[in-house]
């Protein structure tokens, strides 16, 4: 009896061992996932709502890449995000970079949307010789430090955004015969805001447009009314607004309430294209606001099944339309995928070398984002251009400039009608 049971036990053990050996074998064959350290602000004031938008798109890209067979050169290895919340705080981000590299052993990093965070955090990653794909941070100096491990495929320096703002204002004047002679520049007093202001100032000077107010403000101010009053006192033809969502909402509301009466309010993407902007300011105030955008929108970009799949699934899960931020976040993961295919292994040096040779031209991906990706020797993709959009009375963004990407169903209104609160 006893012996019999022991035999049974033995047989059971052998069976279990065999099974686990089989399981083990199959595990060896399935490739280990490639882990991507992902830094993004998910809490902490203004930037968090953009961070959330971007994070959803990043996760969607990982899902799509994994569903289409992962990294084929690595035996179909799936991608895995190790996501951390930077809280918009550079100190947090630097600590997390070190943890991701030394503890989590992530061979490549992605993020971190904000310039003030990305700039110091990429320096930490450079020290550890770990490649970093910058998703959206626009500070010019990020790719101007001679770093070997920092790549920016889906964003151009802030100055390019400001270039488009100033170029458009000149264009609109010529196209309609109603040029703007004076401009008030309002921008948040941060790295990004000042970068933008420096370029705008120089461009307006070159174009002969007088800057009647040049005013940085501390972000998240309790009351922006005094600033808007100051704008009103200068009676500018055009007001440029460089702000994130919370401040942009306040500023556009106040510009309407205080009846500043400019010909046009021109935003610098960010706040004005945040998914919260139109719901919070209301369609009356948002209507005919101009804003640059790093992406030309549905009409110009969703032309392939690849793009349609992204659009449909993003809308289905998030209930909002994708924007430049989500498209760039989505594309940045595909750039990593492209590099991993060529690297063939999850090794930081190999991935770096592959990223440095990135050349994605005329593919489904570039049709979605509207520009090619060719990384130069600074790690920058210089091919991206900002378009200008105007918000319709129905709260839709329509591309109006440059002319080759302009909407066929919407005509620019310049000067814009006074916003109605």
């Amino acid at each position: 009896m006893n012996k019999h049971r022991r035999l049974q036990l033995k047989a059971g053990l052998v069976g279990a061992l065999a099974a686990s050996a089989l399981l083990g074998a199959s595990l060896v064959h399935a490739a280990d996932p490639v882990r991507i350290g992902y830094l993004i602000p998910l809490s902490g004031s203004a930037a968090a709502s953009i961070g959330k938008d971007m994070s959803r798109a990043t996760h969607l890209a990982v899902k799509h890449i994994n569903e289409s067979g992962g990294i084929k050169s690595m035996g179909g290895a799936p991608l895995e995000l190790v996501e951390v919340d930077t809280r918009g705080d550079a100190k947090v981000a630097i600590t997390e970079v070190e943890r991701l590299i030394t503890r989590e052993k992530t061979p490549v990093l992605l993020g971190a949307f904000q310039s003030g965070v990305t700039f110091p955090a990429t320096a930490a990653a450079e020290k550890y010789r770990t490649p970093w794909v910058v998703d959206l941070a626009a500070k010019a100096d990020i790719t101007e430090r001679g770093f070997k491990y920092v790549f920016r495929p889906t964003q151009v320096p802030a100055s390019s955004n400001a270039d488009s703002m100033a170029d458009f204002i000149s264009f609109a004047g010529k196209a309609t015969g109603k040029p703007a002679k004076t401009v008030a520049m309002v921008y948040e007093n941060t790295d990004w805001g000042q970068d933008m202001a420096n370029t705008l100032r120089a461009k307006f000077k070159a174009a002969g447009i007088e800057v009647v107010l040049d005013e940085g403000y501390p972000p998240n101010s309790p009351d922006l009314r005094p600033l808007v009053l100051k704008v009103k006192g200068k009676k500018p033809d055009v007001v440029t607004v460089t702000a994130y969502a919370a401040d942009a909402v306040q500023l556009h509301k106040l510009l309407a309430q205080m009846q500043v009466g400019a010909m046009a309010y021109v935003g610098s993407a960010a706040g004005q294209i945040d998914s919260n902007f139109i719901p919070l300011v209301g369609k009356g105030i948002a209507s005919q606001v101009f804003t640059t955008n790093g992406w030309a929108g549905y009409e110009s970009s969703i032309t392939t099944p690849f793009a349609k799949r992204f659009w449909d699934e993003f809308v289905a899960t998030n209930k909002v339309d994708p924007n430049e931020l989500s498209v760039s976040a989505y594309a940045a993961v595909w750039v990593i995928k492209d590099a991993l295919e060529r690297a063939g292994k999850a090794d930081p040096e190999a991935i770096r070398d592959a990223l440095a040779k990135t050349r994605i031209e005329g593919t489904d991906l570039t049709k979605l984002i509207g520009y090619d990706i060719v990384i130069d020797d600074k790690g920058q993709n210089p091919k991206k251009r900002y378009v200008m959009q105007q918000i319709t009375a129905d709260g839709e963004y329509r591309t109006i400039w440059p002319e080759n990407l302009a909407s066929k169903s919407y005509r620019m209104v310049w000067p814009a009608n006074a916003p109605k609160p």
């Binding site: 709502s49 005013e215 940085g216 309790p222 009351d223 005094p226 009053l229 100051k230 205080m258 919070l280």
Partner: protein
């Protein structure tokens, strides 16, 4: 051009009155209990969300939510004092209530991140035409929330001053603030006075939150922006002085608004804190406070 300065002055008074109302509860709590409530900004944030919920879920006018938000925050304040702060306070009866200070700091972080988890990071504001409607008087433009803020803040401040001065309960609160032991000897139950003071402080803050919501969207960290300002105002106006908080708020509002017309906005922000430092140095009891010595 001069109309811009007049507008700046009047707008500054209107914004400042709401700042004052935000600071009022903090000043009362400090005056009576000698505790600094670091969670004050977070309670303001809570009030804004209560008002938001009432306005959007129950479809109430933003102004109608004010008394209801006040009642809700009054209850929160009473419960908070009775079941949380009182226990810590009692243990420190013989020394400075440092434990309460640390406790409210913890509460501040807890509430901010608790709300972040609960409602998410998005900014929310009331979708009421009233909030954006303007009243045009010649060159001057005011929004209704601005006018309502000024009016309600003035009335509530006056009512609270009268309550503290002329009612029996009000006098008991002031007596406890001046000398707790002497008040105790005279038969005043200090624990009840504390519960009431803390609850009144938050009740007033409830009104402030409802008034602020049409002017500034709510997010889980909105309290940090206004809470810091409230501390400055309390010190400016004189710690413990209810009327002082109101006038302190108006000084800050006007300084910010008119100052911004003359110097860069970023400096105007710094100017407020410069005034704060100067008052701390030259007149620590505040502009409207009474010297203790």
């Amino acid at each position: 051009m001069s109309s811009i300065y007049l507008q700046a002055l009047l707008s500054g008074i209107a914004s400042g009155a709401v700042y004052g109302l935000i600071a009022l509860g903090l000043s009362l709590q400090f005056g009576v209990m000698k505790i600094i409530n670091f969670a004050h900004g977070s309670f303001l944030m809570m009030a804004m969300y209560v008002s938001y919920a009432l306005a959007t879920q129950a479809g109430l006018h933003p102004l109608v939510t004010a008394p209801l938000t006040a009642v809700a925050l009054f209850v929160v304040g009473y419960a908070c004092q009775r079941w949380l702060i009182d226990a810590i306070y009692r243990k420190e009866i013989s020394r400075e209530p440092i434990g309460v200070l640390i406790f409210t700091t913890g509460l501040w972080i807890f509430l901010d991140y608790g709300f972040l988890a609960l409602v998410g990071p998005d900014s929310r504001s009331v979708d009421s035409p009233w909030a954006n409607d303007v009243l045009v008087m010649g060159d001057l433009i005011f929004t209704y929330p601005q006018l309502a803020g000024l009016l309600v803040a003035a009335v509530i401040t006056a009512a609270l001053v009268a309550f503290l001065r002329y009612t029996r309960t009000g006098r008991a609160i002031r007596a406890t603030g001046q000398d707790r032991e002497a008040a105790g000897v005279l038969g005043i139950d200090s624990a009840r006075v504390y519960q009431l003071s803390f609850a009144i402080g938050l009740g007033v803050l409830g009104v402030a939150g409802a008034l602020l919501l049409p002017l500034y969207p709510a997010n889980p960290f909105v309290g940090d922006i206004f809470g810091m300002r409230a501390f400055v105002i309390v010190v400016l106006g004189g710690i413990g002085s209810v009327a002082g908080a109101f006038w302190g708020g108006i000084i800050v509002g006007v300084l910010e608004s008119v100052g911004s017309q003359l110097i860069p906005v970023t400096y105007a922000e710094a100017l407020i804190f410069l005034l704060f430092l100067a008052v701390m140095y030259f007149r620590p009891s505040g502009l409207f406070g009474v010297e203790n010595e």
